[in-house]
């Protein structure tokens, strides 16, 4: 069996792992990043394509939380993690929410000054910016519809670098912090899955892994480490901890932003290469309205989700764009590792309030799209009628039930909540797992609740803060 040694082992190379790796490597620590997925050139596959799903998504995108309704979800599985497949939308953690988390979970050093300092660092490092020119028509729809209704809408910044001609390149972790960590001396071991952490008393002494070799065969690897950061994301991190026998407050409290879609047909063709960057924020933080990837396959899927006859709309797919309503949910879920299975059982229970909030969100989404000039709306509710006028939307209210609504999410958080209130959290204020001196979490799992906005900004900010705090103890 192959054995590797390192001072710091980082498991996962996504938003949390890459920030941690770059921070620690630049500080001169010896860092080994182990990533289960492959290392794929960020330019190798088209964004939002089927190839991207096959190569970069965990389970090729076919994951779902069981519940009524079930909720499909997605995670990245490649060097760079979900930042390779996400839309790059960036929104700082709202200050009121950070304050609420600080008080409820007793999180030390979680003031606006501290968070702003690390957000500034992340934003400079990743060139977070807004579009230099006018938004594409699919995005302007949201602004226009909201303006007609007197609602607030804003353009979100993105983790994008724009050149002088306005062409943007998403600054994924595989394009930015992973290579920068390598430049600073970190090593990356891709296609290597950590299956179990090795414990001795209150320390983790290393990890057991399985590495996939170029021919497809696998080899067992043992990694000896002085410090371990688990950054596998909100589903995989608790799974690994539970498989390693670490269970206290681990895996419960999973939070989603449950999301429902509408395919909107317009009288003319729209752009389909990118996602809209505008959001209707009138009902934030409990409800957000935005736009999704709308390649031909996505349009077809969204149309089919309405369960009716959509052949005519599909034939004119270039006139159709997919939008969504997403909520901050009062419900929660659980990740449970099952002996003998790699993938955990994931369950999620939406409350009645969540369901009516989402149904209301769907109606608001319909209103804004009709106000912006959409001529036909196909909601992701089996059997719901196509809406052509505002009066038609009321029928969606009754059609929305747990068994007819087709829901999904790409925002997963809160399975190892952070804070000094040990009765509610799995890790301390800086991500150190209770009961272990050298085991830390540094990813989406730490967020004590769903942020109500796109989460990567909060994840990276908190990861940078925690990595700095770790360094201060060495």
């Amino acid at each position: 069996m192959k054995t590797l040694e390192t001072e710091v082992l980082i498991i996962g190379s996504g938003a949390g792992g890459a920030v941690t790796a770059a921070t620690l490597a630049r500080a001169g620590r010896s860092v080994l990043v182990v990533e289960e997925g492959p290392w794929i050139d960020p330019d190798a596959v088209e964004p939002f394509s089927l190839d991207e799903m096959v190569l970069k998504y965990r389970h090729q995108g076919a994951s779902a939380a069981l519940g009524t309704p079930g909720i499909a979800y997605a995670e990245g599985r490649c060097v760079g993690g979900s930042t390779e497949i996400n839309s790059g939308l960036y929104h700082r953690l709202p200050e009121e929410l950070a304050d609420e988390w600080r008080r409820t979970y007793r999180i030390a050093e979680f003031t606006p000054e501290v968070l702003d300092k690390y957000s500034d660092l992340v934003e400079n490092e990743l060139s977070v910016s807004k579009l230099p020119g006018a938004p594409p028509p699919s995005s302007a729809v949201l602004e226009r519809g909201a303006a007609k209704l007197g609602w607030r809408a804003v353009e979100f910044a993105r983790v994008f670098r724009y050149d002088h001609q306005g062409r943007g390149v998403k600054q994924t972790m595989a394009r930015t912090l992973v290579p920068r960590a390598v430049e600073a001396g970190a090593q990356i071991l891709a296609e290597c899955r950590i299956s179990r952490l090795l414990k001795r008393d209150d320390r983790i002494v290393g990890a057991r892994a399985e590495r996939t070799l170029p021919g497809g065969e696998t080899e067992p690897v043992t990694i000896i480490a002085e410090h371990v950061f688990v950054c596998g994301g909100a589903i995989q991190t608790p799974t690994l901890l539970q498989h390693s026998g670490i269970r206290a407050q681990i895996g419960n409290g999973l939070k989603f932003h449950p999301t429902i879609k509408v395919a909107a047909r317009f009288p003319q063709a729209y752009d389909h290469g990118d996602v809209p960057m505008h959001r209707v924020t009138e009902f934030s933080p409990f409800l957000t309205i935005g736009g999704s990837a709308s390649r031909r396959g996505h349009v077809a899927l969204a149309l089919a989700d309405s369960g009716g006859d959509y052949a005519d709309a599909l034939a004119a797919w270039e006139d159709v764009v997919v939008y969504y309503a997403a909520i901050r949910s009062d419900g929660s879920g659980r990740v449970t590792a099952l002996p003998g299975f790699r993938a955990p059982l994931v369950t999620y229970r939406m409350t009645d309030a969540d369901q009516s909030r989402l149904a209301r969100g769907l109606l608001h989404l319909g209103e804004v799209l009709l106000a912006a000039g959409a001529t036909e709306l196909y909601p992701s509710i089996a059997g719901a009628p196509v809406a052509r006028r505002a009066e038609d939307l009321v029928e969606w209210w009754d059609a929305f039930t747990p068994s007819t609504a087709n829901l999904m999410t790409v925002h997963l958080t809160s399975t190892v909540r952070m804070g000094d209130d040990q009765s509610r959290t799995g890790a301390d204020s800086f991500g150190r797992v209770w009961g272990f001196r050298n085991l830390r979490i540094n990813d989406a799992s730490l967020l004590p609740d769903a942020p109500g906005v796109n989460p990567q900004a909060a994840i990276m900010t908190i990861a940078a803060r925690n990595a700095d705090e770790f360094l201060s103890h060495l």
Binding site: E46, P47, F48, S49, L50, V54, H59, Q60, G61, A62, S63, A64, T68, G70, P136, Y162, Q165, G166, R167, G168, V169, K170, D271, H272, G273, D274, R295, R296, G297, H298, V299, A300, L301, A304, D305, G307, L338, F341, R342, A343, P344, L345, V346, A382, S403, N406
Partner: protein, 122 residues
Amino acid sequence: MLWLERQVVASLSGDVRPQHRLAIEGYVDGVLRAMPELLRIGVAGESIVLGAGTWLAARLGSRRLLSERLEGWEHSRIGPIRQYVRLLSSLVIFASEELAPDPQALDPSQPSAAAAGANGRG
């Protein structure tokens, strides 16, 4: 892929060219293999039960086409049966559209759909 899954994919992908059908089938097969084990077990269980029912009905002389059965399952009162049809049809729909032969692919003077999509990001 199990017997019924193959039949369902063939039925849902409709009248497409054999190569396109093979590509769709290959994609669906890949996703079913990649699914979380527990979900795959559930889907396989349904394929076996529904497949056995379909096979038996045919042996007993039923003339109901698979497409008609699928329509019934899609509106079944049993959630997992509805979800079974939804899963397979979502995979087939996405693959049929995304793997559709590109009509411009043979014309080198035209930018391909792929390049247009990538440029659209900027």
